[in-house]
Amino acid sequence: MSDHYYAPDHLKAFGTISEGAPELGRKFFDYYSAVFAAGALTEREKALIALAVAHTVQCPYCIDAYTTECLQKGSDVEQMTEAVHVACAIRGGASLVHGMQMKEHAAKVGM
């Protein structure tokens, strides 16, 4: 057992998470593969979305994995950085738009 959170080796061993619940694990990984297959969106587009979401959920495993994956699907660092800014803008915007609730409440209780 590692003496710190987020050990890089955990990512390589991710598949073993199925050991405790094989059927659920199989369903999850089958679903996961299907999600990332080319469809109405290309694999490259899906990898960029995943990279942005990885930053939103702040998962270091996902950030490493989808940085490599984006490069392997043909994106460059400028495109990937813009994807991260999309995540950042939505996160920031989500905070700021709650300011509307603050304003309304302040208006209600204030003079």
Binding site: A38, T42, E43, R44, T68, L71, Q72, K73, G74, D76, V77, E78, Q79
Partner: protein
Amino acid sequence: MTSTLSSRRAPLADPAAQLATLDAAMTGRATFDEALRGAGWNALTPATLEIFQINLGKLCNMTCRHCHVDAGPDRSDAMMTRETVDACLRALDQTAAHTVDITGGAPELHPEFRYLVDEAHKRGKHVIDRCNLSVLLLPRNAGLAEWLAERDVEIVASLPHYRQRNTDAQRGDGAFEKSIAALRLLNQAGYGQGNPRRMLSLMTNPAGAFLAAPQASIENEWKTALKRDFGITFDRLLALNNMPISRFLEWLIESNNLDSYMSRLVDGFNPAAITGVMCRNTISISWDGRLFDCDFNQMLDLDASTPMTVENFDFTAWQRREVVTRAHCYGCTAGAGSSCGGATA
């Protein structure tokens, strides 16, 4: 921009040192032959011979960080003679190969380049020029794009990415801008507009320690972006992996990426990519007239299992050989597969 291993007298300039480094990096991993056997191939054997790939030498106007040839402006030490070019043509005449694939270095810098193109064209062969693009901008090569077009030569041009950043990282500052200027020249000469006699193929390889993108999935995006951003058109996109040899091997070691890159290649082994690997349908000829299974084995000085030169070429014996494999061969079978013709799976 880097310099050649050769000019720096770097230990890795010696192919034996490269092989020893690779073997050490493979400790604890399945050998390529074991992976082949696991996929049902007892040996890698030749298919129908289709391509004569002639490496005219190591002289190049560029010094890219990933070059598997260790080519550069200082490499005029390795140049094919007219006598060897003629021997290549005599060997070619003994086969039904339909394509003459000319590579280097920058083959356009070689004094016998136009002679070889003319002779291959006269024989009715499809001729490929593996072009670094910037060489077309040199004053000595003014008009070369039109000259090649008149001989129906397919241009296979290296361009790591359709955007500047990755291209310059791999090929040196300013490389992207020159590539775009050269692509415009080729378009003006009629290349890249759907005419099978003016084929312009772009070849992308990763600017880093990761696998090539699946070419079919990104070709449309490349076409759209190059047209939109620069008004450039091309016919097809080929994607290939970087081989862990020569200057790319040096970069992998220096950047502490060798172990993870070998894992990526070994873990990415794709049995479906084996059938189409280039060593099965190609003869690779070195500047000094030796025959190899592929350009990578040539650079590693890995003689064919039936050693041969173009002077004593024996087609029947050549087709009976087994391909010589080592750890770098994983580079051709990883992911979507990789060859001089792009993906193989």
